[in-house]
Subunit: 194 residues, 2 copies
């Protein structure tokens, strides 16, 4: 009888272990070195939201057109799927990569090349009075301070479809947010610089 | 003493459970309905390899430029990181999405829109004499038969940098394959249609 109970405990504990939060749930929360955010690691193994090429809100933007790949940790993504909202400690990485047209068998269009840098958006309500903060990392930057409010925060606040996030550009999440009533459709029709 | 041994067993089993293969390792292997491949599910939660816009090996390609997002299951990706090779039962999904330029705050460049379809590549040595097979799914297709060998297989065989996969277009995996000596650098310089 005692053995039966112990075996039942073994089975239960193993089931709990198998269904535990993914191991990265704390590793993929923001970490700081003093005032600075530490560079997110392993974001290439997070959930991919979408990518763009040469996206810009300035119609006369010039210079090199970069690919931008957006990633969010799986634990945060799962909570968004279940609620249409981003939990505290969510991180968004917008990875910037170069673009090449002619290479190997590819003769037209664009494929991705070297890492150029990344933008990082963090929701950390206990740390930032404005809840969300924005950081810029070069290809090798290890830590970065928050950008001034005018640089990113204001535009995200005014024009993002879900809280501070541009879900209008993430086609698979758009439907989720609409279902939960957290999608601000008006954000699709802004012309902020006209 | 008996109790100590049982507790040690509990601890061991739980450690095993925590470090077990991710739960999707069988769910993200190819499944068939008769001769047809069933549409891969949940691939948006797999590992993202890269994306392109309007990639084509025909220099005079016309028509709508599509985004292509490439995903591979995490279990397969982990084995590639550890060996530079793709394990049997690997699946690659190349998701095709529309592209839009003017929308919300975006005024130039391109962002992704609706699902158009997907190409799927499967390594299944027990099922296909040529080991790799290729399938085409529309936005709603549930199952698909393998394409004729001339349609995809031959080009992948001749010009892919690692086995049948175009790792020359996946910047983060390229370095892994080079480290393990599985990268065919000559694949970067082909001009198949000249």
């Amino acid at each position: 009888m005692k053995h039966a109970m112990l075996w039942s405990l073994v089975a239960t504990l193993c089931l709990v272990a198998l269904h535990a939060e993914p191991q990265d749930s704390t590793a993929s929360m923001p970490r700081y070195a003093g005032q600075n955010l530490m560079r997110p690691e392993n974001y290439r193994e997070w959930i991919f939201l979408s990518s763009g090429l040469g996206m810009n809100y300035n119609p006369s933007a010039g210079g090199q057109e970069l690919f931008t790949n957006v990633f969010v940790p799986e634990w945060s993504y799962r909570q968004f799927l279940a609620s249409g909202k981003w939990p505290d400690k969510s991180i968004f990485v917008v990875e910037e990569r170069g673009s090449q047209s002619n290479g190997s068998i590819n003769k037209t269009g664009h494929f991705q090349t070297e890492l150029v840098g990344m933008g990082v958006e963090v929701k950390d309500e206990g740390r930032f009075p404005e809840k969300w903060a924005y950081f810029k990392f070069g290809a090798d930057t290890k830590t970065a301070g928050a950008n001034p409010k005018a640089a990113c925060w204001q535009c995200h606040n005014d024009h993002a479809a879900v809280e501070h996030t541009f879900v209008q550009f993430y086609p698979t999440l758009k439907e989720v947010a609409k279902k939960f009533g957290t999608y601000r459709a008006a954000a699709e029709n802004v012309s902020p610089f006209k």
